[in-house]
Amino acid sequence: MTQVTTSIPPPAVGTPVVEMRGISISFPGVKALADVDFRLLPGEVHALMGENGAGKSTLIKALTGVYTIDEGTVTVAGTDHRFTSPADSQAAGISTVYQEVNLCTNLTVAENMLLGREPHRFGRIDVKAMNRRARSVLDRLGLSIDPGSSLGEHSIAIQQLVAIGRALDIDARVLILDEPTSSLDADEVAKLFAVMSDLRDQGVAILFVSHFLDQVFEISDRMTVLRNGKLVGEYLTRDTTQLTLVEAMIGRELETLDRLEHQAPTAAPDEARVPLLQVLGLSRKGSLQAVDLEIYDGEVIGVAGLLGSGRTELARLLFGADTADAGTIDVRGSRRRFRTPRSAIGAKIAFSSENRRAEGVVEDLTIADNMLLTLQAARGWLRPVPQRTRDRLVEEYIKALDIRPPDPAALMRNLSGGNQQKVLLARWLITQPELLILDEPTRGIDIGAKTQIQQLVAKLADEGMSVVFISTELEEVLRLSDRVVVMRDRAKIADRFNDESVTVAGILATIAAGGAELKEEDSDA
């Protein structure tokens, strides 16, 4: 089974309130959405699913008028619309709560809920009436906070609920909730779900995005899955298993590449060997629960897990990009504490972020400058890398990694994603690290560059470098890793040697079951 079958849309219950057809949106250099269809029925909770970069946020922003679409049509309640601003889409009855709370913490709770359609009296805002109206919406959400208090005084969870309150006050036909539960605890989620069911019964169409699978299965009636900006399919929740969903989201590559031949570290690590990195109880509130991990020389650790599983958070803590609240890191037996990336770099650790554009690329500098940035930063500005060394290194890596264009003076912004990624890899390889942490190094790059990067990782490990390889694509993880670590809900749920018994299906089952099926392999998935 190499391709997920697109399920046949079940017979429609009434006409869709929102119908998007053939939506395409591209940004400079990226096709964010390609020919996506999407429909939303009145009186349903519809989950929009997909991994990072699948196009969920882009689709939502196309529907709410934040992005203008390049191709395709949007029909709301039978009328064609072309939204050019959020105000347009609100006027059409679409109300949105975005992933990051998009409210103003400096205004009061009531203002945040009602500003833009606040009650007036004698030409001025009727504050009392506004607070009363806010009060009644807050009651529906079971919140007893003072509507006149400043939003910033409240916790993120409450701010999130206030944002939902704003959406509720608009008599919306369509309510979009983009990851509304990520900062709520169980009770708050239950309360939110009760409100959502209420609204559903009143005929409101709710579009719901969440990376908590259990929640999606609990509340949604129907699901649409996107992957890499393309539509995978639409599913009825009650006919779908978690496994099918995970498979649809992560997908399988069409071409089956052989497991890359790379020598596993000669001897299985025994107790006597000192690991390169020994991590005990590493945690950070709100992003990672205590994780233990041992990494030996020449080992490739594959990390599997969905978006929000804690995979990126783990990498950032190992590198000192975020500081840990608790736990210890020993490098070759000596205790280290990484408060900044600089201290981790000093311990010969390298980290390539999943967010290439925001956290990796310095786009107005040249390929050569980007490659040498870390080495130069380590040497300090007074000791520039000698021109000859510089030329030699840059030429060597451009050749070794097959970077196009092979021009050291080309600006980074003009490179394709794959070539940018190679330059960033070169930036770290030049520092000769002992541990290389790669977070989604192959996402959004073409297949050729992808294979090259995979081969490079195998070669580096053969030469003795340890690699932590984080990827959404399980084939890739299995092909490269000596050991596989599985993350879910911000915790490590499995850690095992990558022998013949470990399969994509097995890992999918582990993720879907939350660790319970760690041992038994569900062969039929």
Partner: protein, 336 residues
């Protein structure tokens, strides 16, 4: 506040409560008022006649134009912008007033001409800032140069104002109970202040000003009219500068290209010392009034003392700025 919610309190919830902060909206303004009272207390203990209510009223008399400028500047700074052009626009306004009056225009025509030109300059600046995404700093710098340049085009010399209406306004006195008095300028300034406060706190426009300063992208996503507000605040600032220019022209009975050099710094200082966050979104117009009064008090203090030199004014304003910037920084840091 948070514990009063009906949401069940669980350990993870408590963790999130760490982000909680008590209401601090009024803290900077309270600090300004405390400082003002403190200075007056110290002044009245040290110098005879300092505590006289007329001294307080004279603060308004001498700083009426600064209060008007401060109102406009507060709007701009609340959106997270800045307007460096106000001093030059004041000078330009005095020049337009003096030259048109000299040419024999009726006072009302002069006033309209001044207000319209100031408002237009402000609108122009707002359009450039919003639609061309030019930083407020540099766009208002351009208008600052433009207005000064226009002054010199009108005349390099100082032009006296002899028109009857203006002189009557300048020499007029509004009696208050108890034998005290203020000038008509003060009445104008207080009216402007009241209108400004009403707009800022009571209308959708005013609340949107705060929303834009809090988070422009949020305000946009909330469907608020960000463009109108961003252009609007610079228009208001331009109008206030023109009005302040008229008051200044009446105060000095002249128009001169070198009037009000550096006054933009006083206006910004008054706003910041009044507790408005320079990054936008937080502050009260009332604070700006106290900021203006505090600046006036420093000058009064120094003139009463007689032994203190005038430069202590600048040093103390700078020190106050520093104190308030540091307080604000500490407050915002704890909130993050």
């Amino acid at each position: 506040m948070t514990t009063s919610t009906s949401v069940t309190v669980s350990p993870t919830f408590l963790d999130r409560v760490r982000g909680y902060s008590p209401p601090r909206r009024y803290l900077p303004v309270a600090a300004t008022v405390a400082l003002l009272i403190g200075m007056f207390g110290a002044g009245s203990l040290r110098y005879q006649g300092f505590a006289d209510p007329q001294v307080v009223l004279n603060l308004f008399v001498d700083n009426a134009f600064l209060l008007v400028l401060g109102v406009g500047m507060t709007f701009v700074i609340l959106t997270g912008g800045i307007d460096l052009s106000v001093g030059s626009v004041v000078a330009l306004s005095t020049m337009i007033a003096a030259s048109t009056l000299q040419a024999g225009w009726p006072a009302i025509a002069t006033i309209i001409a001044v207000l319209v030109s100031g408002t237009l300059l402000g609108t122009l600046m707002g359009l450039v800032i919003h639609y061309f995404e030019v930083q407020p700093f540099i766009a208002s710098l351009a208008v600052m140069f433009l207005a000064r340049g226009l002054c010199y085009l009108i005349s390099v010399e100082s032009i006296p104002i002899r028109e009857a209406g203006f002189t009557a306004f300048a020499q007029g006195s509004v009696p208050l109970p108890g034998g005290y008095h203020v000038t008509p300028s003060v009445v104008v300034a207080v009216v402007v202040f009241a209108i400004g406060a009403w707009v800022l706190h009571m209308t959708r426009f005013g609340r949107t000003v705060y929303a834009v300063g809090g988070s422009e992208s949020s305000a946009h996503l909330m469907g608020l009219r960000v463009a109108l507000v961003k252009v609007g605040v610079y228009t208001i600032s331009g109008l206030c500068s023109a009005l302040a220019g008229l008051l200044f022209a009446a105060y000095t009975l002249s128009g001169y290209s070198l009037h009000a050099v550096g006054m933009e710094l006083d206006a910004i200082a008054a706003v910041v010392i009044g507790g408005t966050l320079l990054t936008g979104g937080r502050g009260l117009l009332l604070g700006t009034m106290f900021g203006v009064l505090l600046l006036g008090t420093i000058q009064t203090f120094i003139s009463f003392d007689g032994t203190l030199s005038s430069w202590w004014t600048k040093i103390s304003i700078g020190t106050l700025l520093l104190i308030f910037v540091v307080i604000q920084r500490l407050l915002t840091r704890r909130q993050n």
